[in-house]
Symmetry: C2
Amino acid sequence: MPDTRGSIVIGWDIGGAHLKAAWAEDGRLRDAVQVPCRLWQGMGELDAALTTVLERLPVNADHVVTMTGELVDLFDDRAQGVHTLIDRMAAALPQGRLRVYAGRRGLLSPQEARGQVMDVASANWMATAAVVSRLLPAALLVDMGSTTTDVVPVRDGAVVARGVTDHERMAVEELLYTGLTRTAVMAMERTALVAGERLPMMAEYFATSADLYRVLGRLDEATDQHPAADNGAKTVAASLRRLARMVGHDADDYDPAVWRAMAADLTERQLRRIHDAACRVLSAGVPPLPVDAPVVGAGVGRVVVKEVAARLGRPYHDFCDVVGAPGQDWVASCAPAAAMALLG
Amino acid sequence: MPDTRGSIVIGWDIGGAHLKAAWAEDGRLRDAVQVPCRLWQGMGELDAALTTVLERLPVNADHVVTMTGELVDLFDDRAQGVHTLIDRMAAALPQGRLRVYAGRRGLLSPQEARGQVMDVASANWMATAAVVSRLLPAALLVDMGSTTTDVVPVRDGAVVARGVTDHERMAVEELLYTGLTRTAVMAMERTALVAGERLPMMAEYFATSADLYRVLGRLDEATDQHPAADNGAKTVAASLRRLARMVGHDADDYDPAVWRAMAADLTERQLRRIHDAACRVLSAGVPPLPVDAPVVGAGVGRVVVKEVAARLGRPYHDFCDVVGAPGQDWVASCAPAAAMALLG
């Protein structure tokens, strides 16, 4: 063991579309970073992203990793994905300094982790919730990312989620496939509100949720790290065009206020879906979480999570505040990576 | 014409379940009153309600009347309902002092009104909106009553609704069949949230929307003037029992927090339905109403309307404030009757 073990820890979260990292020194979070990483396009994407991120992080550190990237369709199955990602990380990082998060089994050596595929796969939400459960007596963690939203109850020092695997978690709405920027609009709703009528939408990859928030003036462009659906400009005008196309229109066919109303309706429905999931998760506890248990918001969609908290009538805490990194937006946006840095 | 004509005007709104009246002196609203009147049980109900109300109002007055009661199933059709109600009011009130509201045709003598059934039927919302359109340059009137909710846009001194008849108004969601107290829970949703699952509800008249708001501590009992679905007690315990029965449970089967979560979910869905209708009505205008046009709340469900305004990001005005009767809750709860008193 090197003498520095424990002093600097870098937490990694290998997603399907982003590589995220955060580093802590003596148990205090210092910084976090997220870069695009289109893993489904090949392992070269991960290598490039790793190089980019490693240039921005301390050299002499321990590394702990969690992932969801094993589910991209580059891999035949999750086992292959977990093995491939573990091996690639082990090869890229200093020998003997890497451990892998296996949820309830804790941190394992790469070799051990290869044998625990189901515990390693998509366990990143559990790391975040585990950290929250150490710091708050009860809370509902809501991490709204670019693609998915996690809704996880914690109580009495424990994560009290009903599901563990993606499948189980989706069945009880602890995992929702809806996000701030990358969700295809065609997959959000079947109909859209246009000039006083609800019209069917085309099932075409014309627009994404980033277009909706951009049209509404609610998007921080730094959080939208992938190309637009049409590879076009990331401007309000271009987003209006993409949105109008979903219902067979050109943007000029109506006053922009009509398209803003369409976008507002779609984001409202996204918010309601998260709100509904939160109500379901909250009502499943026996007894339910205390009424004053806060919502802890994480992910690039925290502005939406804050509205969910208000509708639930619960206090709201930003994840970065909970973990003692106030104002560090990227720590909250990369919560699982930050959690790994703290757990490591 | 008596000398006092115009000095005191009593506005009447004959609903299917309530008789409402308001009176104005020299154009200023003085008071309003609502009494239960189960019109579908026979005209004796109207006679009794009229007697009760007339005892509380000035004697020497002009009378103007609007109605929705013509649609109760006591009558073969709306024409019979309109004729019967006009004749009954004419017989009960002083000779020559009654006029009937016929929407765009204005105030007619009873004899004239008998010939304009379609304009007289269910025109009460138009009276309220007409008064609002005289006082505000643009607004969205939302009148949430015990049974129904009206959503009516007004602009430039005019009511710019798309629908006129009940049928047309329901088709464009300017009229919703959902209310604060009398809506059967079985008609609100097909499923309910119970302890972490969405369960089908029984299609039985076990509980009403008043039970939901009572369980949540949000019901002003004065607004709930009809018997409970089971003719039982109007207590939280009895409402919990009625609510649990909707999903085949006894209340004791779960912590009360579970039933409160079920009630909160159902009222949330009711709120969303009104919110959705408001978004649809707002997006139908060409161009849409200005973003600062307020929501004007009327009806016993104004607390819900206020939340809709907040979700729309629009200012909220109580109807009683708009018509210069600040703090007079019953004036806002009986808005069409108050509007009649001002229009007469």
